[in-house]
């Protein structure tokens, strides 16, 4: 295959397989906790992290990871402060992230130009070092996620009962939000800062239409995520399109198809039950 003869495509596919696995896994719990907007807020914090990295010469994925983790912990702390207006914490951190990025870009030194490839993702600019950093952050993130899967299920289903059973809910929540931050930092290189939350949420939204169980939803989310990333990268290569936008449009199409199929199934069920009366 022609596509596999290019080193940059091999690097993009390796990184793509990693984020296609991790993003929907994190996205499932983000969705079940009804915190979809948190991914958007943290990706905006990543923007300031990338800008800081480009300004200081630090690997941008590492600086974005550090900024996103800081943002994640601040969101968690603010959620405690604004217990009944938890969404305020997300808005505050999102604004702060964009504001810091704007200031750093304003400082110049060509930061703005370098930032563009992080905003919408890029295949050709992914270096071997980028892939190494992505795997170094992505694999431990994946491992910790798998370790906490049953605890996260329990907490997202009924947090009160989970706390009563003795689970360290606060600790798990902090670990999870840090994992979310790291996942966004890892995924932004391919999908782009502005679209990274879509890769977390859209596969889950489609899987929830198809599966009837938690494990089924989890597997479907990952499968849809992986297929969309691979198909998106291949399409981006042959059609010379931005990878982030292509992946997200494929995910949107998958979601539309699953929604249509579910609506058709429900309509058929309704007709059958009406005829049976």
């Amino acid at each position: 295959m022609e596509i596999l003869q290019y080193d940059f495509m091999l690097r993009a596919l390796a990184a793509g397989l990693m984020i296609g696995l991790v993003c929907p896994l994190v996205g499932l719990f983000v969705t079940l906790r009804r915190m979809s907007m948190i991914a958007d807020a943290l990706s905006h914090v990543c923007l300031s992290g990338v800008a800081a990295g480009l300004l200081t010469g630090v690997q941008p994925i590492l600086s974005a990871s550090a900024f996103a983790m800081g943002g994640a912990l601040l969101i968690e702390a603010l959620r405690e402060k604004y217990r009944y207006y938890a969404e305020l914490s997300i808005a505050i951190i999102m604004s702060a992230g964009v504001a810091i990025a704007a200031i750093i870009i304003g400082l110049g030194n060509g930061v703005g130009g370098g930032l563009m490839s992080y905003l919408f993702g890029s295949i050709v600019l992914i270096s071997g070092r980028d892939v190494a950093v992505m795997f170094c952050i992505g694999l431990p993130t994946l491992l910790v996620l798998l370790i906490f899967t049953k605890e996260m299920f329990n907490i997202t289903f009924d947090e009160e009962a989970a706390r009563a059973s003795g689970l360290p809910v606060k600790l798990i929540n902090v670990v999870f939000i840090v994992l979310t931050a790291l996942t966004i930092a890892v995924a932004m290189r391919i999908v782009g800062i502005l679209l990274v939350s879509s890769l977390m949420i859209l596969p889950v939204a489609a899987a929830m239409q198809m599966a009837r169980s938690f494990m089924g939803t989890l597997f479907c989310s990952v499968l849809i995520g992986e297929l969309a990333v691979i198909a998106g990268l291949v399409a981006a290569f042959y059609l010379n399109l931005p990878p982030g936008g292509t992946i997200v449009i494929i995910l949107v199409l998958v979601l539309i198809v699953t929604l249509a199929a579910t609506a058709r199934g429900q309509s058929a069920d309704f007709s059958r039950s009406a005829a049976g009366r």
Binding site: L146, N154, D158, E160, F214, M215
Partner: protein, 255 residues
């Protein structure tokens, strides 16, 4: 020989910030008892249950669970808790009945460990116990309110608890579901499980309770197996004094 004390509260005081929620609460629950807790909205019923299951700590007073001070009590598996939120959980949550019940045993397994055969057996036993084994693979959101409440009960029972704490278990459950719940509670009592239930509905626990506790920040009445409203303690239910403790005709009574 006297019965083992499962829950002992002695002069408990609990405040949220500067707002007193519970004061002077003394109550004893012996093994095998079914205790109904009632009272007006904001009387502190749910807070009392939260104290017992360890979700909050009292600022003043002594609380013992199975004879141990609450602060050092570690055997949480002995307590099955069905929270009020369980009755209005996210209906579109993507999980089967079996997955929900099995998740009740999460804290027993520890991080990174999968559920084992014993966990699966306990979950299936609990489902059979509430007559929901046939719905094992059904999405939990597709069940009726009564069936969902039975699943929540099975989730708590999957721990094989000795104390079952139920917060408004009849919320959102139709009459048939309430009858079924009542039958199940009767069976659990026969098995020697101690039950504490907060409820506004007297009927479903009729003839089952060993005592009703009427709560309005402090315990207004206790020690009767008849629902307070039926014996003229109604002054306790609608009235909430401006001053702490007012509106309670009787002095606090310990169990």
């Amino acid at each position: 020989m006297s019965a083992e004390m499962v829950v002992e509260l002695n002069n408990i005081r609990f405040t949220y910030g500067c707002h007193p929620v519970l004061d002077g609460i003394s109550l004893q629950v012996a093994a095998g008892e079914i205790v109904g807790i009632t009272g007006p909205n904001g009387a502190g019923k749910t807070t009392l249950l939260h104290l017992i299951v360890g979700l909050v700590r009292a600022q003043v007073g002594e609380l013992k669970i199975f004879g141990q001070p609450a602060g050092v009590f570690k055997e949480r598996r002995q307590i099955g808790f069905v929270s009020q939120r369980a009755s209005h959980f996210n209906r579109s949550y993507p999980a089967t009945v079996y997955e929900v019940v099995l998740s009740g045993r999460t804290a027993l397994r520890g991080f990174g460990r999968f559920f084992n055969r014993q966990d699966r057996t306990c979950a299936e036993e609990a489902l059979a116990r509430v007559d929901m084994l046939a719905y094992k693979n059904a999405p939990v959101g597709e069940l009726s309110g009564g069936q969902q409440q039975r699943v929540m009960l099975a989730r708590a029972l999957s721990l094989r608890p000795r104390l079952l704490v139920l917060d408004e278990p009849t919320n959102g459950v139709d009459q048939d579901g309430v009858k079924e719940l009542s039958r199940l509670i009767s069976g659990l009592r026969d098995d020697g499980i101690t039950i504490l239930a907060v409820s506004h509905e007297p009927g479903w626990l009729a003839g089952l309770t060993s005592k009703w506790v009427c709560l309005n920040r402090t315990i207004c009445s206790c020690n009767s197996s008849i629902y307070p409203r039926e014996v003229g303690w109604s002054e306790c239910l609608p009235v909430r004094g401006e001053q702490f403790g007012l509106g309670c005709a009787d002095s606090p009574v310990g169990g």
